[in-house]
């Protein structure tokens, strides 16, 4: 109804086309978005102990799922449900914080390298390639060794693992934008570097940053999981998905529910974010650009 009204209104004026119909995400990506929001809700719920106190001992040790402990109990008799809820929260929080840092740094470096070119471009790209050549988990262990195990190490690792790809893609997008006539026109109108980069280049590479941001989030979740699993990330008693899987691994044969809960949630989180990322990519970059992950 609204669409037709809009078209009628513009029909009289020659040349002004009606607003493009709003492109929506496809159902699969919407499902992914829904899943992700659900996980965020669950994480928020853990703040008010919606599933119970994650540190309270509620029953016998290593019990299979049942009334009172819907995801079973761990080796200390704590209910797994609130622990998984807290774990999701920790993992999502650390990963998102890291991705925000990555996005800010990648946007800065990538746009500068892409627009300015020359030595600056060479310098930034060589450093990025150096980082890119390390296997993710080796890099993460290196960071943990330097910074000491903990949340900071987890965040720093995720940043270092995700920054190379995003910087490269932002740079590629910025190179393309830098050659567009509107950037030239801005330069001719006397715009300085900050205005050209901030007002013209950044908004035009924002889609790339958003798409890569979602992929970086899923990489971040798996890096946090891996690092904490190895004991270099989040430290117990604080729960994260990696910590829970590590603790559950010891009793895998006797009490598989200890890793099934956090494992399923981990897979669900990564899967829903990737699906959402694909949808965003199709929306923002309708051409044949595909993620390299």
């Amino acid at each position: 109804m609204k669409e037709t009204a809009g078209e009628k209104e513009t029909a009289g004026v020659k040349g002004v086309k009606g607003r493009r119909p709003r492109q929506r995400l496809d159902p699969l990506s919407l499902t992914g978005l829904g899943c992700l929001l659900l996980l965020v809700l669950v994480a928020l719920g853990s703040l008010v102990h919606a599933g119970g106190d994650p540190d309270a001992i509620v029953g016998p040790r290593l019990r299979p799922p049942g009334p009172g402990w819907w995801l079973g109990t761990d080796n200390l008799g704590r209910s797994m449900l609130p622990r998984v809820m807290e774990g999701v929260g920790t993992t999502l929080l650390l990963s998102s914080a890291a991705v925000l840092v990555t996005a800010a740094l990648s946007a800065g470096f990538g746009i500068l390298a892409g627009y300015r070119g020359g030595y600056l471009n060479e310098l930034i790209m060589r450093v990025v390639e150096l980082l890119y050549s390390f296997p993710a988990i080796v890099l993460a262990i290196l960071v943990a060794a330097v910074a000491g195990p903990g949340q900071l190490a987890a965040v720093a690792s995720i940043v270092l693992v995700t920054i190379p790809l995003m910087t490269r893609l932002v740079r590629a997008a910025a190179v393309a934008v830098a050659e567009r006539d509107y950037v030239t026109a801005a330069a001719i109108s006397g715009a300085g570097l900050p205005r050209i980069l901030g007002r013209h280049v950044l908004p035009n590479v924002a889609g790339t940053i958003a798409v890569q941001g979602t992929y970086a989030l899923s990489v971040g979740i798996s890096v946090e999981g891996g690092l904490s699993f190895l004991g270099f990330g989040v430290q117990p008693p604080q729960a994260s998905l990696g910590v829970l899987i590590r603790q559950g691994g010891t009793y895998m044969m006797a009490a598989p529910w200890l890793i099934i809960g956090p494992g399923v949630v981990l897979v669900l989180a990564i899967l829903s974010i990737n699906v959402l990322g694909d949808g965003l990519r199709d929306r923002f970059e309708p051409r044949e650009t595909r993620s390299l992950i």
Binding site: G15, V16, D181
Partner: protein, 325 residues
């Protein structure tokens, strides 16, 4: 009167390919100059060099570009920005691409106006506001207030080009470089857009360098014409003289091949052969292989500009050919 734009012996290379091979161009204040030539003759490179907008891989091998006496190619960044802001305007071929897709038309116009401070004629109310934007859009005959609130993709090509012209002319530049501004528009819109450009330029006293394929349109609208071939200006002078009474064999061939001057029933005469791809300075006259009047020295000796009447002609046999013409 000294020239507003002086291009002297400009040589530009893209890697091993030579785009400009000693181009000279002079534009006086308030003058409209049409630069015509085939694709690849170096028109766009010349236009870009005027604003020092050459792509990164371009190397200026020799020559100078002066705008109002200032050496554009040697200015420090701050002076270059000031020169561009105060004296230069550009309009490009693809109107949609010359507008930022993420910003509404009004916002882009405001950004340019703010950069120029309040010195623009539209700044009469002194405000930062919509009055300015509407004023500048009305100047290019875009009266619909919804244009300012539209994104570039919502505009037609002709409207977008008029917005681009409004942006370029907002600061009343002294020199407007228009690189085939109507190439992507249909013929009806083409005339309207050109009318807007030339009317605005006349009002503001802006000189125009119009790079074009369209010989008849150039002849109608420009004071002077410069014909380019293989990176050099081979003939320049008053528009009517150059196109109506060409001396250089290439200009003559070009004029004969224009569909608009054809008499129905008579075959168009294309220029025989194809334009050369230079990899370095041309040893002689670059047109010699295609020229019906070529002699031995044409292949080995670079021609220098010869004054023929009101025109400058780059041909060894200009004097003889003038008699023939």
């Amino acid at each position: 009167m000294s020239a507003l734009l002086e291009v002297d012996g400009l040589e530009v290379d893209y890697g091993t390919a030579r785009a400009l091979d000693g181009a000279d161009l002079r534009v006086a204040a308030g003058e409209a100059v049409g630069v015509v030539g085939e694709s690849g003759s170096g028109k766009s490179t010349l236009g870009a060099a005027i604003g020092r907008l050459l792509p990164r891989q371009a190397v200026v091998a020799a020559g100078t570009v002066r705008v109002a006496g200032e050496p554009v190619l040697d200015l420090p960044p701050a002076a270059l920005r000031r020169l561009r802001r105060q004296r230069l305007g550009f309009v490009f071929q693809d109107p949609i691409a010359s507008l930022d897709p993420t910003m509404k038309v009004g916002a882009q116009l405001r950004l340019v106006l703010r950069a120029h401070g309040r010195e623009s004629p539209g700044g009469r109310d002194g405000g930062r506001g919509g009055g300015d934007v509407a004023f500048h859009l009305e100047r290019v005959r875009l009266d619909d207030p919804r244009v300012a609130a539209a994104y570039p993709h919502q505009l037609s090509g002709g409207m977008a080009q008029r917005v681009a012209i409004a942006l370029a002319m907002a600061a009343s530049p002294e020199l407007l470089v228009a690189d085939e501004p109507t190439a992507s528009l249909d013929s009806q819109v083409r005339e309207e857009v050109l009318n807007v450009v030339f009317a605005l330029a006349r009002q503001a006293g802006t000189s125009i360098v119009w790079l074009s394929h369209d010989l008849p349109a150039v002849a109608r609208r420009c004071d002077r014409v410069a014909v380019m071939y293989a990176g050099r200006v081979v003939e320049s002078g008053p528009a009517a003289d150059v196109l109506g009474d060409p001396v250089h064999p290439y200009t003559a061939a070009l004029a004969r091949s224009a569909p608009a001057v054809a008499v129905p029933g008579v075959r168009l005469e294309p220029v025989p052969g194809r334009p050369p791809v230079l990899t370095g300075p041309s040893p002689g006259c670059a047109f010699a292989p295609r020229c019906p009047f070529a002699e031995d020295r044409c292949a080995t000796e670079r021609p220098e500009p010869v004054r023929v009447g009101a025109k400058d002609v780059l041909c060894h046999r200009a004097a003889e050919l003038e008699v023939i013409a």
